[in-house]
Every structure is written in C-alpha cells, then in structure tokens.
C-alpha cells in the first residue's frame, strides 16, 4: 500500500460498505463489454518494461490479444511471465510502456481498475472459501450483490453461463467437496459472472489430473468460440495447452523471443525458444544390466494422515539399475507407499526387505545410512530448509555420517567441500554456497534437493513426483540425473502423475488406483492408453483383453 493513496482507499472502503458501486469519472466499463466483435484487438501492451533491483523482469514487451482468441504465453520460471501477468491485471505498474484497451490508453492503479474494465484473473493457487458453496463463492464480493444477495437470481444467471460454455458443475456443492478442476471452474465463473471479457489464467493445468485437463481444455475452447479472449501462462505441460491456443508468445529473460501462430509451431521449436537450446523430448534409455534384487515389498499397507487405509497391500521388487515406475493420480496411496519405504510412515501390515534384510521397522536414519535416498514431493515444505544456507541444506544428508563429524562437532571444511562439489555437479544456480535456500525457486530448489540426496544414495532412490511443476529445462535435467543413477546400478522407484514420463523412464510400470496396483506391466508391452485407463481404475476388461491375446 502506498501512503499517498490513502484518500483513494478510504473512498473505496466507503463505497464498499455502503453497498453502492463506486462511480468513477472518465472511465466507462462498457468500453470493453459492448459491441465486441470477434477478431478485434481487446488489449494491447506496448513496450512494457519493469525493473526490479538487479533484474529487468520485462524488457520492452509488446503483446496483444484479440477477442475469441486463446493466446498462450510460454516461458520458464523467471522468464518474466508472472511480472507481465501482474502488470496486465494491475497488481504491478510498469516502469515504461502502456496498456491500451480497445485502443484507449488506460492506467491501472489496482486490480480493481482491471476488473472494472472486464479483465479477470485465475490464480494458480485457488483463492476460494472452502466452507462456502460454489455459488456463494461466485457471488461473494460482486458489486451488484448489494447487502442481501438474491441467490435465486444469481443461480439462474450463473447457470446460464455454465450452459453457454458447457461447464458441468454443482453450484450448491461446498467448495471443499469439489475437485481441483471444478474449483478452477468456480474461479473462472467468478470472473465471468463479473463480466470479464478477458481471462488471464496462471498455469491452468498444473494441478489437474489428465482427465480433468481434457475436460478443462474443452471448456476453454467453448469459451473462445464466443467473444472471450483468453491468455494462459504456461511453464510446462506444453502439449495440452498448445493444442487449444491460436497464437503463442514465448518469453525468455524478460524479452519476447518469438511470436507465432500455433498451427505453425512444433513442440521442439517452442522448447528451443523457451530454453534457448535444444531439448530432447525422447529420452534415450541407457542399456543397463539389471542386477540383483535391491528391494522387495510384500503386501505392504499403510494409513494416510487421516487414519484411513490408503495403501492396501502392494507387492513388488526393484533390482539394481532398474526404474520401477508407479503411475497414478495423486491421492491413490503412492505418497503413503513412498513414505513407508523411506521409514517416515509406519507399515500397517506387510514387509519391506532391503537386500534380503527386513527393514520394516528400521528408522529413517538407519535407512539413510543403508544408502536409501528419498526425494520428497513437497520441495518447500519438507525438501529444504528455507532459512538455511545451501551448505546447511546439503549437510542434512551428511550430519549423521562419521566421516563428517568428530567428537560431536561437524567438520565444516569437509562439509563445505562436499557441498561445493555437489552444487556444481547439480548445476544449482546461486551466487555462492552461503546463499539461503529461500532465494531459490522451482527448478533450482529441486536441483538442490537432488544435490543433497543423490550423491548420498548408493542403493535405492525413491523419487516422489520429481519433475512435478518444473519447467522444461529443469525437467530434462532431473530425468537425465535419474538415468545417470540408473547407470550406476541404483534401483529407482519413480512416482509420477505424468504418464509420458513414466512410460519413457521406467523398465516396469505399476498403475496404482485406490491403494492397490492394478497390474505390473513391463515397459516394452505398455501402451499409453491401457496404462491411462488402468490409472483411472477401470482397467479390468482391457488388461484381460491383452492377456487373452497373448
């Protein structure tokens, strides 16, 4: 908040309290809403420049969006997408350049100005009240709601919107009962009900399951068929979203690298513009001799945090140099499996054998010392310690090793040396090794976790969603490192929601559904469709068919 804007704010608060929409001179919201024709330029940004201390986040960016168009903005973490998005929505003000709505120059003092002009934004992290119904969330804060909301009228109007764009959603369900995909629809409806004609979507598919993504993209298309303009911002999952967009703008290091029509684009070219070098989408599986059995799991079951049996008896084995892939939608027991194997979760039943030894009751520390490494899925929450320097973070996997302490005192020199090497090897981008982990983001954080875990893992690596939410470059890096581990003869348990990833990386694949493996399929025989169906839990006839044909 700026102190100079206080009078402005007070007026806003007053008008909110009195329930009357604020009247503003010289700005008419009809300018965007009425008479918008397909193909007409809705919003244009010219020469947008935004500097932060030490970086130019946006460097003379030109951008425009037409009605009825889906214009995707691509870029890695740190390419300046978020800054641009925040400028278009009035959260940030550009240092240079201007925004034009239907050819008229506008100045956004706050997101309220942008909303007034018909711009809506859907954040990556949902901002909904979980205990309220979908409809209540949509109506909440609407300028025309007045003091007592007329829920019946609102329901009718929102229902009309749903039918128009083919959204299937129960408006009277409480938000916590809705899936991630449905919650996203609620956010979109909230913007649309407020009269938004231009939607900015931040990483729209990152939290959706494959099935939800499919449905979501269909409704995107339906929305663009009307006069809506849509701008999705994407770092990863290129194929799905590119499938629906009309134009793509690629940002790298704050500059527009390329703008082209989607039908002329190829995945490879897009990734090259985004990352700045060639990206291999097809990983070559190295030929590795599969060795002795490292891990054998017999009928393992475990409770979830809520005390429900989430893992219901799985049996499998992993051998040296083998990647065992578990494909499944989050919440089907794979997280519990990973934690049970790492010793973080008590096994309710069954046995874990590590190189022939029963480790079902072994502690986390004992397992770490045996050479079992765990890459957790929550990078910020449990993977790293924010306030610690990179060295101290790396020390998390060293402190218990006799080589790194003497008489209870840590050997700082040795630890620093190890950390320096690991950080270099794993390409963690930081000014120096005393930088705090809080300053790293996304891909860099995952590289730090790999640098911490991988060099200390000699036998078995449990990788829980290792590339989830990473940009293309970092994803490629992580996959290559896993392959390098495989070459060293480490057995790997790979848990992923990304079907392509599992298919590409694994030697054997086990789709998991409601705490049970639906089957274990050798990668050579696995087909994307059948594994996808097995992940969704209705696999029986398909697997049976295949068995019959054999």
């Amino acid at each position: 908040m700026r102190i100079g804007e206080l009078p402005n704010l007070i007026q806003k608060m007053r008008s909110t309290l009195s329930g009357k929409p604020e009247r503003r001179k010289g700005r008419v919201r009809e300018s965007l809403v009425s008479g918008l024709k397909r193909g007409e330029t809705v919003l244009e940004a010219r020469g947008i420049t935004k500097r932060f201390p030490g970086v130019v986040a946006n460097d003379h960016i030109d951008f425009d969006i037409k009605a009825g168009e889906i214009h995707a903005v691509l870029g890695e973490n740190g390419a300046g997408k978020t800054t641009l998005m925040n400028i278009l929505f009035g959260i940030l003000r550009p240092d240079e350049g201007g925004i034009y709505v239907r050819g008229r120059k506008v100045e956004f003092k706050s997101p309220l100005d942008a909303i007034d002009l018909g711009i809506g934004m859907v954040h990556q992290h949902r901002k909904l009240i979980l205990a309220h119904t979908a409809l209540e969330n949509i109506v909440l804060g609407h300028p025309e709601t007045g003091k007592i909301p007329d829920m019946r009228r609102a329901e009718e109007e929102v229902g009309k919107l749903c039918r128009k764009y083919g959204f299937k959603i129960d408006l009277n369900a409480r938000v916590w009962q809705l899936s991630a995909g449905e919650q996203q629809l609620v956010e979109i409806l909230k913007a649309l009900y407020r009269g938004a004609k231009l939607l900015i979507l931040d990483e729209p598919t990152s939290v959706l399951t494959p099935l939800e993504t499919e449905r979501f993209l269909k409704s995107l298309r339906a929305m663009a068929r009307g006069e809506l303009a849509i701008v999705p911002f994407i770092t990863h999952k290129l194929p799905e979203v590119l499938g629906v967009s009309d134009r793509v703008t690629i940002l790298r290091k704050g500059k527009v690298m390329k703008r082209l029509e989607t039908r002329k684009a190829t995945m490879k070219a897009l990734a090259r513009h985004m990352v700045g070098r060639e990206v291999l989408f097809r990983l070559k599986k190295p030929k590795v001799k599969i060795g002795k059995e490292v891990l054998r799991v017999e009928n393992l079951s475990a409770l979830s945090d809520k005390g429900i049996l989430a893992l219901k008896g799985v049996s499998f084995s992993i051998r040296e140099g083998e990647i065992f892939g578990i494909a499944g939608i989050s919440g089907n027991g794979q997280h519990e499996l990973a934690e049970a194997l790492a010793g973080l979760r008590k096994a309710e039943g069954g046995k874990i054998l590590f190189r022939g030894k029963d480790i079902t009751r072994a502690s986390v520390l004992q397992r770490l010392k045996m050479g079992i490494g765990y890459i957790p899925s929550e990078r910020v929450e449990v993977g790293t310690i924010r306030e610690f320097s990179l060295v101290d973070n790396i020390a998390m996997n060293l402190y218990f090793d006799k080589e790194y302490f003497k008489w209870g005192f840590l050997d700082r020199g040795k630890i620093r040396e190890h950390a320096k090497k690991a950080i270099l090897e794993f390409d963690v981008m930081a000014p120096n090794i005393d930088t705090k982990a809080a300053h790293l983001s996304g891909g860099n954080l995952q590289k730090l976790i790999l640098a911490r875990v991988v060099p200390r893992t000699s036998r078995l690596l449990i990788a829980n969603l290792p590339t989830h939410g990473l940009d293309v470059g970092a994803t490629e890096f992580v996959r290559n490192r896993l392959m390098a581990c495989k070459k060293e003869g480490i057995g790997i348990l790979l848990i992923s929601e990304d079907l392509d990833e599992v298919l590409q990386m694994s030697d054997r694949i086990a789709p998991i559904y409601e705490g049970k493996f639906v089957g274990i399929v050798p990668a050579k025989k696995a087909r994307k469709e059948s594994i996808g169906a097995m992940m969704a839990g209705a696999p029986l006839e398909k697997t049976r068919k295949r068995e019959g044909s054999r």
Partner: protein, 359 residues
Amino acid sequence: MRLPRLKLEKVVALKGWGAAKVSIYSIITAFIIFSAFLLWEGANPIEAYRHIFSFAFDPRLGLVSTLHRSMFLLFATLAFILPLKAGLWNIGMEGQFYLGTVGAFAVAYAWGDLPSGALIPLMLIAAALFGAGYGVIAGFLRGKLGVNEIVVTLMLNLTAFWLIQFLIVGGPWAGIGECRSRPLPDSAVAPEIGGLPFTVFLAIAISVIFFILFTRSKVGYQIRSFGSNPSAARHVGMSPFKISVLVMAVAGAIAGLSAYHMWAGDPRFYMIPQPEAYKSIGDLTYWGIMVGLLCLLNPLAAIPVSIFVGALKVGGPVLIRRMKLPFGLDLLFLGILFLSFVAFQFFYRYRIKRVKEKR
C-alpha cells in the same frame, strides 16, 4: 503539501547485523518514549538515565547486585533460548527454577556437614537434575503426544510454587516462627571470585558453550534444523521426540542451576525467603523471554543484553527514590521496552522505502 510516498517492501530474511540493528533501534525507541513520560512527571530524562546507570554500574553501590541479577537473568535466558532454537517455547523457567531450589536445598539439609568441595557440586547436580526432570515433563508430552509445551510449562510453574510453599510454610523445611526456610549451612555458600559468586562465571561459560554448540556441533545442527523446519528434519532422520526431550531437559537443568546461584550466591538470602519474595524472584525468570528475543536467540549477545536489563532492574528503584517519582515508573520503562521490541518485529518482515517520483 504532498506527503512523501512510502512503500512497504517484503524482506526475505534479515540476518546478522541487519537483524541486530532492529533490536538496537527498538531499545533506542523505548528510551525516547520513556523520556516523554519522565518529562511529563517533570524529571529531566538525561539526569534520570544517569541515575539508573550510575548506581547500577558503580562498583561501590550496585555493580555486584547488578551482575548477580543479570546472571540470574542470563540463566533464565539460556533456558529459554535453547528450546526455542528447536521451535519449542519454554515458559517454564520459573517452575524449573523452583524445582532446582528444592533439589539444592534438599541436598544442603541432608548432607549439611559435608565440606564445601563436596557439598556444592552435589547441590549443583541436584539443582540441575531436579530442573531437568521438571523440564522433561513438557518435552516428553510434546514429543510423544504433541501436547503444547507452553501450556504444560506454564501450569507446572504454579505447581512448583505451591510445592515450595508447602515445604517452607509450616512444612518440613520451615525456619523458626516465620514463613521462610531454615538457613543454608555455611559450607553451602558459593565461593567468590573477585567479589562475585563463582556462578556468575558459570553462566557466562554456559553462554559460550551454547554458542559453540549451535554453530559447530552436530546436535546443535540437529536442533537448528528441527527448529527451522520440523518435517524436513524428520525426513532426514532426526527424531522429534529425542530433540524435544533433550532441549527441555538441558533447559530445565540450566534454570535449575540458577536456583543455586540465586540463594547461595547472594548474602541477603542463604535460605528460601517468604512466598511473596521468592515469587517475585521467580517472576524475574520471565524476563529471560524478553532478553532471549531481544538478542535474537544468540547466546553471546544474551550476556550484554541481560546485563542491560539487570541494570534497569537494579537501577530503576534508585531512580524512583532519588528523583521522588511515582511508584512503578521503573516497571513502566521495562514494559515500554518490551512493547517497543514487539512493535519493531514488523521490521523483520518489511522495509519502508521511499518511492521516487518520476515526472
């Protein structure tokens, strides 16, 4: 007139000198605010501050007393800092101090005829063990069952208060005719080094040991990791139970030791005084929280900060007496100090920046 446009900026993590500056500014602000109260009462602030510190640091007047109280505060501060490094709030220094009292006096009464060389170490050990045992209750409940340690330690404080009351008011340790205990045997009195009880140097030594522990040792690393991110610590094999019990045990032991320092190190005592008096000394331990936070959990910084607060505690009443100010004004100063520090917490998260107007 145009107001200067100011903007708040989030600060990721303030460290080292930057964080220390915030503490120093908050102390300066407290001085300025208290000056206003002094002026209102018609006293010259500069003279007033001179009265406080000239008494507190004068070797012939208050210095011994200041150092004695400061080191008592330092014990309490260290007992507060250690658990907080592991993310646990020990508010039970008072109770642990009382239990240390029970331990030390029990030994002194039972083996009062032992020579000093044997009796004093035994008293110290007993005080530490009793305090540690009391601290472990909260650590155990927290580590095993996830019971909030603040509530447990706070309630145990009251329990311990009544335990001593039971022992000295008409109880087995009662002195002659009054609500206080029998005096300690002469052999239990703390020997002096340079006019100060040796426990003063014990407190400073523990500060230094703590500093080395936090920065260099394996267990210190575990404690810091657990305090910064318990789930990350659990993921690399640190046991929440062991760490909780350990820090609370050591913290309790240190708070327990302060009992020996208090009763056997000050000639005005050498016994447990009547309940109001020992309660007011128990209340002093809460200033350990204040000092611990002011020095940002740095055990070395805790030494000067506790001497500073100790000086205010000793010199405050003198100011009131000499300048004939209303009763309780010295306590007001300590209150302002605390409030000012809490208000300045804001600057750990934000920085005020002036927006440059571009025309």
